[in-house]
């Protein structure tokens, strides 16, 4: 676990602090996240996600839950524990190739890329993005959602392995 904290501590801290913005709460949440990583590490599959992607998914979910808890909104479900399913030895992830991901992100329209940077990299809330860009709040929400779906479609076309382009049931 020490190696995991060394390798991914900065990533988790970055995800948490930009959303929580309260140092003490961020420290507690970081501990909760590493506890969940410890509990659910058996679920990690390097053929589906990169190790940093797996860690980021848990951190994002917990950070979003924290925000929703502040607003008294329902939270998302935790990842199920699969403790009887041993995790592989640490190996770099293969499922999501970083170059393909950058390629897909660079193919997005300029405005979507700017919104992604503000949301994912800088951790601005939708209201803060609206204020910073002058876009109506509803447009920020819609464009971010559609941007994510567009990125999924682009990656699907680039042949990434995630089940990225599901369709409606027949």
């Amino acid at each position: 676990m020490e190696a995991c904290i060394e390798a991914h501590g900065g990533l988790v801290w970055s995800i948490v602090l930009k959303r929580v913005r309260d140092r003490s709460a961020a420290e507690d949440l970081t501990q909760e996240i590493f506890t969940e990583i410890w509990k659910t590490s058996g679920r990690y599959d390097p053929s589906i996600a990169s190790e940093s992607g797996f860690v980021a998914m848990i951190a994002r979910r917990r950070a979003i839950d924290w925000s929703r808890r502040q607003q008294r909104l329902p939270e998302m479900e935790s990842l199920p524990d699969k403790a009887d399913f041993p995790a592989p030895v640490e190996t770099p992830g293969h499922a999501m190739d970083r170059d393909s991901l950058w390629k897909a992100l660079e193919s997005l329209p300029d405005e979507t890329r700017r919104l992604f940077t503000l949301h994912f990299e800088q951790g601005l809330t939708h209201s803060e993005i609206a204020e910073s860009t002058g876009l109506p709040l509803g447009s920020v929400k819609t464009r971010l959602r559609r941007g994510l779906l567009e990125a999924r479609a682009l990656l699907g076309r680039l042949g990434e392995r995630l089940n990225l382009n599901p369709g409606p049931p027949p």
Partner: protein
């Protein structure tokens, strides 16, 4: 709305769920649509990969004091020092047990094997001074044979149910759901997670997944609900109850 329109709406709401921007009405709409279309982690994974790849260009550094605290938290329990001459014979069994325990600790550190729910439950009982144990009692004639207990720690916000003689469910039709009654925080019970009882199993240990912080639980209630659980239970089928 036809199927294509419903699917388009579901995708948009699913993206909103992943981005954490659904309001209560949209969440209810997503839950209804997800019953038809299902839900998986693929979009969560994509958002996480995007965020990771962007952050890792210039990540913050985990403050050393926080890193040290985390490492202490996950460090193995220090073994006791040898103080005298060891007589091998009578202690051989204990030595083997200690080695096995050591292997368990090392495997945790290697991030290569996680303990089972039963092991984590035992650790909680042993290590958490405030853990409390409450027996489950059947709550209706249909579940008269239901037995078990709940272990819960307020400080760790962690708990487990050990259940037996509860009929197996078909997850496609109904699922069990735990509710935690905590009058000190709210009159509405906290969702403790959805779970299944597999066919033909003996006692099972189920981790509690409290969706909100629980301060002082007065009761734990198991109900039978639709697949995926519900936001608020009508308590039409109450299976078992554990009261403090």
């Amino acid at each position: 709305m036809n199927v294509e329109d419903r699917w388009t709406r579901f995708e948009e709401l699913d993206a909103g769920r992943v981005l954490g921007d659904l309001d209560a009405a949209e969440l209810a709409e997503w839950q209804e649509l997800s019953r038809d279309f299902g839900s998986d982690d693929a979009l969560d994974q994509l958002a996480a990969e995007v965020e990771a790849v962007m952050i890792l260009e210039k990540p913050l550094v985990l403050p050393p004091a926080v890193a040290a605290r985390l490492k202490r938290e996950f460090a193995p329990t220090p073994s006791s020092k040898s103080t005298g001459k060891i007589v091998i014979g009578p202690w051989l069994g204990w030595a083997v047990a200690a080695c096995l325990l050591g292997l368990l600790v090392v495997s945790r550190l290697n991030f290569s094997q996680t303990p089972t729910a039963e092991q984590r439950r035992s650790l909680l009982v042993e290590k958490s001074a405030d853990s409390r144990r409450l027996p489950f009692a059947p709550a209706s004639d249909s579940y008269a044979a239901a037995q078990g207990e709940v272990v819960w720690s307020d400080s760790r916000q962690e708990g487990y149910m050990t259940l037996s003689n509860i009929p197996a469910n078909d997850p496609a039709r109904r699922q069990y759901q735990l509710w935690i009654v905590d009058p000190s925080r709210d009159e509405i019970p906290v969702d403790g997670g959805v779970f299944d009882i597999p066919a033909g199993s003996g006692p099972v240990v189920i981790p509690i997944q409290a969706k909100l912080a629980v301060k002082n639980p007065a009761a734990f209630v198991i109900t039978l609900e639709q697949p995926g659980g519900v936001v608020k239970s009508k308590q039409e089928v109450v299976v078992a109850l554990a009261k403090s």
